[in-house]
């Protein structure tokens, strides 16, 4: 039994995966927790403190090489060590690397895995994921190990960590030069509010006619002390808001106390992102819109009439 490997682009994602890994080991899965990182990735100290017994450290990449170039180095080591499970945070690069390594190991990869359970009696790893945009939940078990999973950020709680704990560091060899070269990297500007951490999320959908009109939604978010988010068409097709504000299957999954969808139809892929919301509200002029079946409270009406009234009533009745 050769343990669990984790790989994440960001430290907070790595901490989540380490926590998930620790729970599996505690349930009797066996082996050690091992983190793979690189200069510029999560720091070995942080990984050790969060429970990694060993850190596999990759050498720096040559200039203009994409992160996925590390694939062959990780694959070769995984072939030798044969870990039971490799967990990747499901960022674009994480998903890409996981798929390459899974193919190289001739192993299964559970994409978008949102629950992991080690059944110690039968010795099976039970993995859960969504199908049909979120309309169905599938539990699967691998026939063989190693097996891989990509885990959406925010799925598991982060562990607390212990700064006195230290991982042993082992260096992995440099990968061969990749035929893919990076010509340019245009970093994204930092936006203000963190939707994933917000207690109240106001989500704008395609019911808004013009980008200026989003001011209504932003106003509501500000009044409630919440964050503004959107559906995929708004970020992807119209480009009115940045993609990291898109909630759903291919965006972020949020767990606020209150979600208010405005001009959102409630297609299953979007609803998948708000399953963890405590209270779901909807404002939509179409009483047949599927979001009403997925909402606790719904206002049937034109958003252009409802929002000004809602804002006014909120301001008037604001708790002293």
């Amino acid at each position: 039994m050769a343990g669990i490997w984790i790989f994440a682009e960001k430290t907070e994602q790595a901490l989540e995966l380490l926590q998930a890994g620790q729970l599996l080991l505690a349930a009797g899965m066996g082996g050690e927790l091992i983190a793979v990182t690189w200069p510029g990735g999560p720091r070995p100290e942080d990984l050790g403190a969060a429970g990694a017994a060993e850190v596999l450290l990759l050498p720096p990449l040559a200039d203009h090489q994409p992160l996925e170039s590390y694939g062959p180095s990780i694959l070769e080591e995984a072939r030798k060590v044969q870990p039971n499970l490799l967990l990747f945070s499901s960022t674009a690069r994480g998903k890409d690397l996981a798929s390459r390594i899974a193919e190289g190991l001739n192993a299964g990869l559970c994409s978008g895995c949102n629950a992991l359970h080690w059944n110690s009696e039968s010795g099976t790893l039970e993995m859960e994921r969504l199908l049909y945009g979120g309309a169905a939940v599938q539990r699967i078990a691998p026939f063989t190990f190693p097996v891989l999973a990509t885990v959406p950020p925010g799925t598991f709680r982060r562990g607390t960590g212990n700064p006195d704990r230290e991982a042993t560091i082992r260096h992995l060899p440099a990968p061969p030069v990749s035929p893919v070269s990076v010509l340019e990297h245009k970093p994204k500007e930092r936006k203000g509010q963190d939707v994933m951490a917000a207690k109240i999320v106001v989500c704008a959908g395609r019911g808004f006619e013009k980008p200026e009109d989003l001011a209504f939604a932003r106003n509501l978010a500000d009044t409630l002390g919440g964050a503004l988010a959107c559906t995929r068409p708004l970020s992807e097709e119209m480009h009115w808001l940045p993609e990291d504000l898109c909630i759903g299957l291919s965006g972020i999954q949020v767990k606020p106390d209150l979600y208010i969808g405005i001009g959102v139809s409630g297609q299953v892929q979007h609803l998948t992102g708000i399953r963890g919301a405590k209270i779901v509200c909807a404002i939509n002029r179409d009483e047949q819109a599927p979001i009403f079946a997925a909402a606790d409270l719904g206002i049937v009406g034109d958003l252009y009439a409802v929002l000004p009234r809602l804002l006014q009533a909120l301001n008037e009745t604001a708790a002293p």
Partner: protein, 255 residues
């Protein structure tokens, strides 16, 4: 003249999936479609051909009933289709699909420049097939692409990543997986549909394949997901809006 291969999947339209009172998945009234982002892959291939010549070959693995999808793909600008069909190909895993696609692309097409896939299918959304396919073929893969160009034996693409946009270049042949905002897929007209029925389709059966990939997973359970919500309705007049705010305060989610 580039040879462009566009892979697509014929899938259940998830909008018609229902949940029975027992919590089971009800697929009795579903219709089918070419998976959303595969339509983007087909469209991008068709546009590349329209801009610079060459040919578009559409490839799919599926159950024999997917013939409608093959015709749909041909009406979206593909010149020829390869239809790999078997009744057992309904719920293939990503690695199995990639292995079958790789064999057919290697043995039946051979000389190709670019393979285009959607980033993930709308039914399983594994987001693995294109990347695994590239590994199988031993060629570069550029995933999550929102913009694409061919240049002198290379493909140049913009990948959308969490921390920004990465412009990358790779030698051909290569695989790309495309995001939905790369283009807006056409809606085929009557003429497109008519001409589609005259285009050649190569049908390949399970017995014609050398690979017989095994599944990596077994399904323990499959159930409709639950949404337990209260579904209380309010009107849009001022009285109702005040009632709505009152209800939110009562639930303790508003200050």
């Amino acid at each position: 003249m580039p040879v462009l291969v566009a892979c697509f999947k014929w899938v259940v339209d998830e909008a018609y999936i229902r949940r029975t009172s027992a919590g089971e998945l009800d697929l009795s009234s579903v219709s089918y479609k070419i998976s959303d982002y595969d339509r983007n892959a087909l469209e991008e291939a068709a546009r590349m051909k329209e801009a610079s010549g060459g040919s578009v070959l559409a490839v799919t693995v599926g159950v024999p009933e997917s013939t409608k999808g093959v015709k749909d793909a041909l009406s979206r600008g593909a010149d020829q289709a390869f239809f790999i069909a078997d009744p057992s190909f309904g719920m293939l895993g990503a690695s199995e699909t990639a292995a079958i696609l790789a064999e057919v692309i290697r043995t039946r097409i051979g000389n190709f420049d670019l393979v285009l896939c959607g980033e993930g299918s709308s039914d399983l959304y594994n987001q693995q097939v294109g990347i695994r396919l590239a590994e199988r073929l031993g060629i570069p893969c550029l995933s999550f692409v929102q913009k694409l160009e061919l240049e002198e034996g290379r493909v140049v693409a913009e990948r959308r990543l969490e921390d920004g946009i990465e412009r990358v270049s790779a030698p051909l042949p290569a695989v790309v997986t495309v995001l939905p905002d790369i283009n807006i897929p056409r809606i085929p007209g009557v003429k497109d549909t008519l001409s589609a029925s005259r285009k050649p389709v190569v049908t390949i059966g399970k017995d014609d394949l050398a690979v017989a990939p095994d599944a990596h997973f077994r399904t323990i359970s499959l159930a409709a997901s639950r949404l337990d919500r209260q579904c209380e309705r309010f009107g849009a007049d001022e009285t109702d809006i005040r009632r709505f705010i009152g209800a939110l305060r009562q639930k303790g989610v508003l200050r």
